[in-house]
């Protein structure tokens, strides 16, 4: 939405990075964001630099011309991508998923949707543990899961079926155990705790919301200033 270099860099430099420093996650945030951005950045640079039409040709590789306009477009796209990945990274590094979902539930999210979201978060480590147990059991019966990549891939296939099937067989008992604890009751459930929400957080959220609405309105009405 905010084009040029100045807008995204201002968001990163004045909003995201100071917040990350305060939260003590700046180093991890930059590393994670670079890693997240890297695969897309490579394709963006290749596509933009060599396929963007322009008058200033910097150099040529075969039939492809690298243009200054392409480099400029790739640069603008990269800072935008980095702004997006750092903001997502900051959210991920500073927000405990369970607290986030439960707070959403307090604010009106359906308890069933909240359960699905939380159960999914828990299911991944549980499935990894189950897979490790099944892999050990299969290895005890002679399955080779080590060695070359090909041997490892061959060893993974016999594990997939048992891992999925054993998960499915537990589903019915798990759902019955939830029914016994009144999970099927219509209406909202009582939550035991509330995440502290300071006045400062409220002000920042309101300001961000206003900025978002303002940016959308000015973009739609064509009054958004052109940034360098």
């Amino acid at each position: 939405m905010i084009g040029g270099y100045l807008g995204p860099l201002a968001i990163i430099g004045l909003g995201i990075l100071p917040a990350a420093f305060i939260a003590g996650v700046a180093g991890r945030l930059v590393r994670i964001s670079l890693l997240l951005t890297l695969p897309i950045a490579i394709s963006v640079v290749l596509v933009s630099v060599f396929t963007r039409a322009g008058t200033h040709v910097l150099f040529s590789i075969g039939p492809f011309d690298a243009t200054a306009e392409g480099v400029d477009f790739a640069g603008q796209t990269l800072v935008r991508l980095f702004a997006i990945s750092t903001s997502i990274g900051l959210f991920g590094l500073t927000t405990e998923p369970r607290s986030f979902v439960l707070d959403l539930e307090r604010r009106g999210l359906s308890p069933r949707f909240a359960f699905v979201a939380l159960a999914t978060l828990e299911a991944v480590p549980a499935m990894v543990e189950r897979a490790a147990v099944i892999a050990s059991a299969q290895r005890a019966r002679g399955l080779d899961t080590e060695g070359s990549v090909r041997a490892r891939l061959r060893g993974v296939l016999p594990l997939v079926g048992p891992v999925i099937l054993s998960s499915l067989t537990e589903v019915e008992e798990r759902s019955l155990a939830l029914e016994v604890r009144a999970f099927g009751r219509p209406g909202r459930r009582q939550l035991l705790w509330r995440i502290p929400d300071s006045r400062a957080q409220l002000v920042v959220r309101a300001a961000l919301l206003l900025a978002l609405v303002g940016a959308i309105v000015s973009r739609v009405t064509g009054t958004f200033p052109s940034l360098p």
Partner: protein, 272 residues
């Protein structure tokens, strides 16, 4: 009082009935053991007595379930849960998978009932205290031993404050230490006035805990009576249930015409 009258049950998609003409009465505060060989219908009877079959899992039921004078057929599963609850054998499936601490795990049922926070906390604390789980309240429910997880599962049921608790082989997947933990918890429950129906292969656990034993085979009740009578009945062994050590020893002594009192005296003398 929980009562099944003339109950037969068939799972959805199956032609044959799994339970046939079951009459079972569980009085308030009564502790009843349910024994039988594999495939006898113990788990199905637990589901039917808790109302989950057919209310939740479907199937076809004839006869009636009555809970404290209220017909079970007219109750939704969450309404059933306030009267009768059932615990299963696998501690992992008892866990909700959404609670960060044991306290929240145990509180989940009252939270689902929409009870006020004070009552939810009160019920949770009471369940924790009755099963002596205070040292676990802040632990991650996923990081418990099998026995501890099963205790947390039972505490979660207790927090619903039901009149009747049904447990389907609560120690089946536990090691001896876990079995001992659950056995102690069941003794606590037995002394607290909640009626219990416990399906179990480990007859030693039921002996001394239950006042009455029901033996089931082929979906029919074949024995129903005071614990000592049923465990001493030779028909129990005939259907493939191993009586507890006390009953087996008594039978051996009787076979060899040894007076138990004389033997006890001899043992005491040799110990001296």
């Amino acid at each position: 009082m929980l009562e099944l009258r003339g109950v037969s049950y068939r799972y959805a998609g199956y032609a044959a009935e799994v339970l046939h003409d079951i009459d079972l009465r569980l009085d308030d505060g009564e502790i009843v053991g349910l024994v039988g060989p594999n495939e006898a219908g113990k788990s199905t009877l637990c589901l039917v007595a808790s109302g989950l079959a057919p209310a939740s899992i479907g199937g076809s039921l004839s006869g009636s379930l009555t809970l404290d004078g209220v017909p079970g057929a007219g109750l939704a599963t969450y309404q059933l849960a306030e009267r009768v609850v059932v615990g299963f054998q696998n501690p992992n499936t008892q866990r909700s998978g959404i609670a960060a601490t044991v306290f929240e795990e145990i509180a989940l049922g009252p939270m689902n009932l929409g009870l006020p926070v004070a009552e939810t906390v009160d019920r949770t604390r009471e369940a924790i205290s009755r099963l002596k789980l205070d040292h676990l309240v802040l632990r991650d429910p996923q990081r418990l031993s099998g026995g501890q997880a099963q205790l947390v599962g039972i505490a979660s049921l207790l927090a619903m404050r039901p009149r009747h608790i049904i447990l389907d082989e609560p120690t089946a997947q536990l090691d001896p230490a876990g079995t001992r933990l659950v056995g102690e918890a069941l003794r606590v429950l037995a002394g607290a006035g909640t009626s219990l129906l416990i399906a179990e292969h480990k007859t030693d656990l039921l002996d001394g805990l239950c006042t009455r034993i029901i033996a089931i085979d082929g979906g029919r009740i074949v024995l129903d009576g005071p614990t000592a009578d049923v465990f001493d009945d030779s028909r129990l062994t005939a259907i493939g249930v191993e009586p507890p050590a006390r009953a087996r020893l008594g039978r051996l002594l009787a076979q060899h015409r040894i007076d138990a009192a004389v033997l006890a005296g001899a043992v005491a003398d040799s110990a001296r």
